[in-house]
Symmetry: C2
Subunit: 350 residues, 2 copies
């Protein structure tokens, strides 16, 4: 009847079958290495030769229609360009996907719920084998399934009832580790320039940070806690304020590396040195952190690993619902040192 395009067609399975002098069934069996269908070596060789000569490659679309497996996973993200995080998550997910012969279908939603919904729907329409829904900074989202049923894992986000598997960074432990790192160096007066109030990461890191300080019998002086933007300007301003205090901190934990970069500037402007005068710890481990002077000690956010894990779990298909926390490893560089004794001495007992 009507082949929509008669033009220079790719060879089809029928073409290789014909050339090899076998039926399409047999050709299909050898191409797919079907176990239980025993094909003689001679026949197999003829088919393989025909495949080679024709440069035959199966139409993945037709195959997917028949088998209901498309070897494709959907990746919908609320943001893709402003931070390097998205790229790292995608990189990890894509590596896991590729290892299982899958490809990633991407959609960016700008965190707009109606776009997110449309994105998930169009992926399901395309019969993806599963979808990863990712947020760039940990947050709660609506259930992306909206009643439909399909394999889904959440990346850096979660649903209220935890009915879906979610891969999340262990922010609270990260906060604890940051505090421990500074405590271990001997600091007692430690400030925290936190991120935006109410943001999941801000609250979780603070929880861990505060708990660790209290465990050490130090406690968090309310004057040393501030909420910032997560950008360098916030770190810059808050650090100036902090260092202008009558009893300035000897160390500052910054919500993220960008905030720490701002803190660096402020400290240098005041003629102080890092880490001799003030120790700094960041969060994220941006690649720029290792280029700072001195190289920034920080808590790494393992975006690549999280992306990989989410995709592996999705494809393995055996993940339990609920939150799966991923450790954020501290990375020690040169921005932490013991406090100056000269500064510790004058500090009166709390």
């Amino acid at each position: 009847l009507h082949p929509p395009q008669t033009s220079s067609h790719r060879p089809r399975l029928a073409d290789v079958a014909q050339r090899a002098g076998v039926s399409v069934s047999t050709a299909s069996f050898v191409i797919n290495d079907v176990e239980h269908a025993r094909v003689s070596d001679a026949t197999r060789a003829r088919v393989l030769a025909a495949v080679e000569e024709l440069g035959y490659r199966p139409n993945a679309n037709a195959r997917g229609l028949r088998t209901r497996r498309t070897l494709t996973v959907g990746f919908v993200t609320d943001e893709i360009a402003t931070s390097p995080f998205a790229g790292e998550k995608i990189h990890g997910a894509q590596d896991a996907a590729w290892a299982a012969a899958h490809l990633l279908l991407i959609a960016n939603t700008e965190a707009r719920p109606e776009l997110e919904r449309a994105a998930v729907e169009t992926m399901v329409d395309r019969q993806v084998d599963g979808v990863i829904v990712a947020a760039m900074s940990t947050r709660e989202i609506e259930d992306p399934r909206h009643g439909a049923e399909f394999p889904c894992v959440l990346l850096d986000c979660f649903v209220a009832d935890d009915s879906l598997p979610a891969v999340l960074p262990d922010e609270e432990r990260g906060g604890r580790d940051a505090a421990a790192l500074l405590l271990d160096a001997g600091h007692r007066r430690i400030a925290f320039i936190d991120g935006p109030r109410g943001r999941y990461a801000s609250e979780a890191r603070l929880r861990g940070f505060r708990a660790e300080l209290e465990r050490a019998g130090v406690g968090l002086d309310p004057a040393l806690l501030s909420w910032s933007t997560g950008h360098p300007d916030g770190g810059y301003e808050h650090t100036h304020a902090l260092m202008g205090l009558r009893r300035p901190p000897t160390a500052i934990f910054c919500f993220n590396d960008r905030t720490a970069f701002g803190a660096y500037e402020a400290i240098k402007e005041r003629g102080l040195r890092i880490p001799q005068d003030v120790s700094i710890v960041g969060y994220d481990d941006l690649d720029l952190a290792s280029y700072a002077h001195p190289a920034l000690s920080t808590i790494a956010l393992p975006q690549y690993e999280m992306g990989r894990l989410a995709c592996e779990q999705l494809l393995a298909g055996d993940v339990a619902p609920g939150r799966h926390l991923v450790h954020c490893p501290p990375v020690m560089r040169d921005s932490v040192a013991p406090p100056r004794t000269s500064r510790r001495r004058p500090a009166p007992p709390q």
Copy 2:
């Protein structure tokens, strides 16, 4: 016979046809708004109602098999995580794709030719409507078609014979603009800390930079040209070297913003001020550039626009082969000022 999965199936077109009491043809016509097939309003309403009630959504896979259009474009990139560039390109491409009801299928190749080839092949197997091959930093690549025929546009890369459309930043003009910017401010002794030798961007920016200096009758002092890493450490070291010269430059053009960040550090360490003592111009317009102190003047690399353009051209299908240069707009911030007169005076005529 054998429905591979009898489980909770999505409704098919046949289901809506049955429910509406029409044939699948008719149902298909109204769902696809087929022009020449006039369907009575009553019938149309019944079909639409059935679609609504059943929550019917067409199987994109089946549709693609039949129509040979999958509404999917392949995006293969040599790098996705280390710089923010990939994310911006993808963002632009995805926005253009989405606007045309397309989705992006992504593959990352780590710049390994065999992976690149496999990626392109698997995308063609999946019947994508076209593929974008992207590099993160302008470079020549092998023809990704390898004899096959499919719509393809290159993004930040090109093939030797220019037989494919390629969207590229106008690096040479960027170099010229950077020079002009500094020349216009009154500088005559301008250094260039270029990127790695032999890299396309390094060479092209140098070409433009040098040409503009010569046009202004200034010329590029070989002592003021150096090749660096493209990372902050390179900018840091070369700036120290430059400022240690007997006749240091009054302005430095840095290969990129990261290099400029290193230059900032070195200048501040020497007790000099930007822009009063030294003017700095970067390249890329990273988001961090606007947070630097002072905010960095730079030449923007319009990654998003390039991504969008490439995808638009691919989907429009009317692009001529050859290089399509995209302008890199200078963005003036606070790191450029006229040279100190005290420094200009002693400079003897060349």
